[in-house]
Amino acid sequence: MVLHRLSIIKKRWFTTSIFGLEFRLPGIRPLPGQFFQVQVDEGVDPFLNRPISIASYVNARLLIVVKVVGRGTRILGMKEPGEFVKMLGPFGRRFRPPKRKSLIVAGGIGIAPLHFMAEHLFRNKISFDVLYGVRRKDEFIFRDELAKMSERSVFVAERGYKKQETVVSKIQKMDLGDYGAAYACGPREMFIALQELNLPMPIYAFCEDFMGCGCGLCLGCAIMYKNEYHRICTDGPVLELGEIVFEV
């Protein structure tokens, strides 16, 4: 783990609230689920770094995709190409996905780490399908890329023009017999609903939480997993959904 000081080489607003920052960072070999602790500001307010997953890493080009949800992400969103961003990482357990036909299940901004997962599967010639849901139709990101890399991709919007569908309602109508594994990331409600469906394949959840350090020092990001508390930052963030207990 190293502290990187990286210059933004490209910035792009995917939607009115989701932006991507691209950096050049050679010499790392990140795996799906891994993340960086991004320093929002040089000063001490905001104090903590923001855990942001890797959305893409191709030819030493690192892309992070951030949704503006509060003050820290808003400040990050004001950064422009040429400016420097400090970040620590990559953090997170090195998770190697099994070589089985798989299904990517994304809800909202949960697509960010799963896009990197898609890149990984594609590069390793593991075939996969995508099920990706958002609230409003205009919130899809990486739509073309996902369609290109996957065998089959299904996009659903909760408030679509024709059909109103969610990831959870859609997955129940799908034939899941083929899949050896699923990778899911999305809001907590999506995880809980998926858990209740008792799907036939193992589901690997890409978890998140408020984090202190992101690297195992503070025990701040606890998750009840296999009957005891685990750290999302170092034991995860990729964990088996079936073993997670979502507390109140």
């Binding site: 320093q39 350090c213 020092l217 701040g220 990001c221 507390e247 109140v248």
Partner: protein, 263 residues
């Protein structure tokens, strides 16, 4: 310059940093294993954070068996932060650890657990009894980590010194809470740390500076300049806490910066 309890685990992750520090203060060790509190355990506030980890640790037995042998390979001194829920707990934990370490920091001030914890640290009578009883079972340095939550740390500090404490560290985190206004319920209730509490920590250190034992200043240190301020306030040493959450290598930078002030 020491690494504060709770923000550098057991010093085994960033050994290069641990080995540069004067000492590592372990996460609070309790008599029995503790799972800790449910999420959220950390929540950012202005210039700092509220934490409510709840003393997650494997308990003294596993600590001695699995963690301490690894820690003993570190090239720094080891102080065990002892978190008891009764006078007996403190005595038992210190006794069980024995002489395998360089000293103890009695945590009579953790705000994140029910019973014991900070309730202990507010009562001069109980505090001095804890110190006196621990004193009987160890010859190693005993530091008491005081709280400044709803009490007079000078009164308590004085009693601890009379009872045989070799040093005082302060402050532990301050009582704090935050609300989720959408759900209209408490988001987190815990201890505030970070630069937000530094001015108060400085004041507390300065307030206790005339005690006859060394004072270790803790609270929101982010730079060499901050350390220098604590030294001016009367501290003999400092602990670096929350700064490592932002940057685990911060202690190395702080040492360098301090050298530029002190030559």
């Amino acid at each position: 310059m020491f690494l504060a309890s709770g923000t550098f685990e057991y010093g085994l992750i960033y050994k290069r940093v641990t080995n540069k520090a004067g000492a590592i203060f372990t996460k609070g060790i309790t008599a029995r294993p503790r799972g800790g509190n449910p999420s959220p355990r950390v929540y950012e506030t202005a210039c700092g954070l509220i934490n409510s980890v709840g003393l997650e640790n494997p308990g003294v037995e596993i600590f001695c068996k699995d963690i301490l042998p690894k820690m003993r390979k570190l090239k720094t001194r080891i102080f065990v932060n002892v978190a008891g829920f009764s006078v007996n707990d403190f005595v038992q934990i210190v006794g069980e650890i024995g002489t395998e370490v360089d000293g103890f920091e009695l945590n009579v001030s953790c705000p994140n657990v029910e019973g014991g914890g900070v309730a202990f640290g507010r009562d001069p009578e109980v505090c001095s009894r804890v110190v006196a009883e621990v004193r009987k079972v160890t010859k190693l340095p005993v530091i008491v980590k005081l709280t400044a939550n709803f009490c007079d740390p000078l009164v308590i500090g004085r009693r601890c010194v009379e009872a045989g404490a070799d040093g005082i560290s302060l402050i532990n985190t301050l009582h704090a809470m935050a609300f989720d206004i959408n759900k209209r319920k408490v988001m987190i209730k815990g201890g505030l740390s970070g630069p937000a509490i530094k001015p108060f920590a400085l004041y507390c250190v300065n307030y206790l500076k005339d005690l006859e034992v060394p004072i270790i200043g803790v609270g929101g240190i982010m730079s060499g300049r901050d350390v220098y301020e604590f030294l001016l306030a009367g501290a003999s040493a400092v602990e670096i806490g929350s700064a490592t959450l932002r940057d685990p290598y911060a202690p190395l930078r702080i040492i360098k910066e301090l050298e530029s002030y002190t030559g």
